[in-house]
Subunit: 200 residues, 2 copies
DNA sequence: GAACTTACGTACCGATCGGTAACATTGTCA
DNA sequence: TGACAATGTTACCGATCGGTACGTAAGTTC
């Protein structure tokens, strides 16, 4: 449910608002939000500034919209991994992590857009930060729920461990692009889950 | 009377360069490098801009200097934990992680200055990024060496796992200040180390 | 006491930042 | 055709960005 322009019937052409959001998605992710000016966003979208400000009240709100789009994409990948292994949470999370360790190898990979935004905007009331915080809380809950589903004696411990592992993978990839510690994330998760389940 | 070079014990006013670096250390860490202008750095230091540019060729180089200071402080904490448990690498890393999980509780905690800088500056040749990348590589090596010292059958796996765990802790603390997954980092590490050592 | 060095401040630079006013163009429906 | 709203454009705003030319005050050396 993207909140950009309303999908009015008969209106199929990619409108300015949509193109701006796609442009922001690309530039904000690759280079960071603070590093990219609105001028560049609209130029990359092939429009001009007033078109941006008619659809978004401010750059901060555009950043928040970018993160909402980013979150959609994230859950699409996550739920796809889950859907591939119905009723088997351990296989679900391993599927996702194996895909992740593949994706982080790409030279264009720049970690998690949400995490990056959180670091760029420490102010607790920033629109972009609010989106990120809500998302991370959802992800953490989801991981703890999966840990419980696995039968972990302490679901919060295993869920949080997996969360830390994921977060560490996302962020350290930006430092070690290939041959980084992220290559070991799947094996580490396997080890961790086995240890957590075995310690019943 | 006055000695050359070393400052006399009664010298009350640190030089401008020193005050600027301390100011940058505080502001860059708390609010981010991009978010803080040089004007604010020098105002907070009680000096003026030309004093900054006499000591540092650019803001980017000041940021790099801040990170070098930050790295010193990091290794001081790390080596202190190591020094408390001679010959016992497992106790060393656990000591450090327990201290870390305490420190991240502080409301002023803003994660790892190096990691944050890496995210703020994706350009591979940025001075600040170079400092961070070198530091993370050193840390990773150190952790792998400690894993080897512990007798881990696959030291790189355990070392990288601990690295991911640490990095995840540092970054996720910025989202969940208290009651976050970071509270479980020590227990997770314990679990992980036991599993890695036991799987011989 | 002139000459030099060191250390710091005043005032300013062009470029770019996020954001806006005013106008031109287009498509839709009466 | 004409009214109207949406979407596009040109040109501009004040604020702030990183960075600098240049003057000033103090200590040192001869």
């Amino acid at each position: 449910m993207s909140s950009i322009g309303s999908q009015a019937p008969g209106n199929e052409q990619p409108r300015a608002a949509e193109r701006i959001l796609r442009s922001a998605r690309e530039l904000f992710y690759r280079r960071g939000i603070r590093a990219v000016g609105v001028e560049e966003v609209v130029a990359n979208a092939g429009v001009t500034k007033p078109s941006l400000y008619r659809s978004y009240p401010s750059k901060d709100e555009l950043a928040a919209a970018y993160l909402r789009l980013y979150e959609e994409e994230f859950w699409a990948r996550f739920d796809a991994a889950v859907g591939r292994h119905p009723g088997d949470p351990r296989a679900q999370i391993m599927d996702y992590l194996e895909g992740l360790s593949q994706r982080v190898m790409a030279p264009t990979y720049r970690g998690c857009g949400m995490t990056n935004a959180t670091i760029e905007y420490p102010e607790p009331d920033h629109p972009a930060r609010r989106v990120s915080e809500a998302h991370k809380a959802r992800l953490r809950e989801r991981l703890c729920a999966m840990a419980a589903e696995m039968g972990a004696p302490d679901p919060h411990l295993l869920g949080d461990s997996l969360f830390l592992l994921m977060e560490g993978t996302l962020v350290s990839t930006q430092i070690f692009h290939a041959d980084g510690p992220s290559a070991n994330v799947a094996r580490t998760a396997e080890l961790l889950i086995s240890a957590a389940l075995g310690a019943a």
